[in-house]
Symmetry: C2
């Protein structure tokens, strides 16, 4: 079975986590993980450029075919949302430029896919990522673990049904009641 | 006096306006303007890529030395803010990649700089942009006019004092009272 190489990214302009795994059926192999840390007090355009260049180098070096990005959490602060959006923009665009398959997953969906609980803690994610990828210790920092979890989410999601625990639609409830779903 | 070429951008993933002007002291010359329109129903990463490539072509063709971008308006919808942020990210990063000076201005500041009123309408902006740049008719569509206004804002802002009509700080009020400001 041909392996797919998946680059998972947890976007951010302070810390941007990345994790790369190889996926062959239900066999997942750890490749690398880490974080991109732009200079903290640098102007935003420069920080975005550091993220852009960092992701570009990873793609060039590891040649992943899939980009899996954590979907934005729609908090209640539009100012934070703009910043997070800016980081996401420079990451997503790289996937298209490199001809990769681009997938986005909500934080809740990722947690459910990897830990089994949509409200999993950072520590639970680190623990499960280490277990699934047979790592000797939990990946550090948590941003790298989150990125690996995003990549794993892409790998396991074809096997998940309704795993994002959004409320069922009326049609889905009916199907469930009829035993179709 | 050496002219500076300024690329003004009004970010968006539905319509992204651009406008280029040459600035030599207080002489402003229109170069070009228009809009980038990603395919409307295309996935967001592809739309971001269209904006990215569009801005890249403009920079390659016209070689501006300054990128002036309209600052995000912090509305009350984080979902919209994320989308706008994504578009801004791919634009801002180009300025840094091309070694340009990158400046951001709030919509209010731009309106005040170009029209003289922070709450100016789209039509007022179009009218003033046409007047300042001696265009035979108002630039179309309004997104292109907004982008030209952003470029003009960069050009005129060194001559503006406290034009963004934010409330004065205590120190500024004192200076004003003393006639220093």
């Amino acid at each position: 079975m041909t392996a797919q190489r998946v680059l998972g990214v947890d976007p951010g302009t302070i810390v941007c986590g990345y994790g790369i795994i190889d996926v062959a059926g239900s066999r997942y192999t750890y490749v690398t993980s880490g974080v991109i840390r732009p200079v903290r007090n640098a102007p935003m355009p420069d920080r975005l450029c550091t993220v852009f260049r960092g992701i570009a180098s990873l793609i060039e070096e590891y040649r992943p075919s899939v980009l899996a990005v954590e979907e934005a959490f729609y908090g209640d602060n539009p100012k934070t949302a703009i910043k997070l959006g800016q980081a996401r923009g420079v990451i997503l665009v790289q996937g298209v430029l490199a001809g990769m398959q681009v997938s986005e997953f909500s934080p809740r969906f990722i947690k459910q896919a990897v830990v089994g609980v949509g409200s999993a803690t950072k520590e639970q994610i680190q623990y499960m990522v280490a277990r699934i990828l047979k790592l000797p210790s939990p990946p550090q920092p948590t941003d790298a673990a989150d990125a690996l979890a995003t990549a794993l989410c892409f790998a396991v999601q074809p096997h998940i049904k309704l795993a994002d625990d959004r409320p069922l639609t009326r049609a889905q409830r009916q199907m469930k009641a009829l035993g179709i779903l």
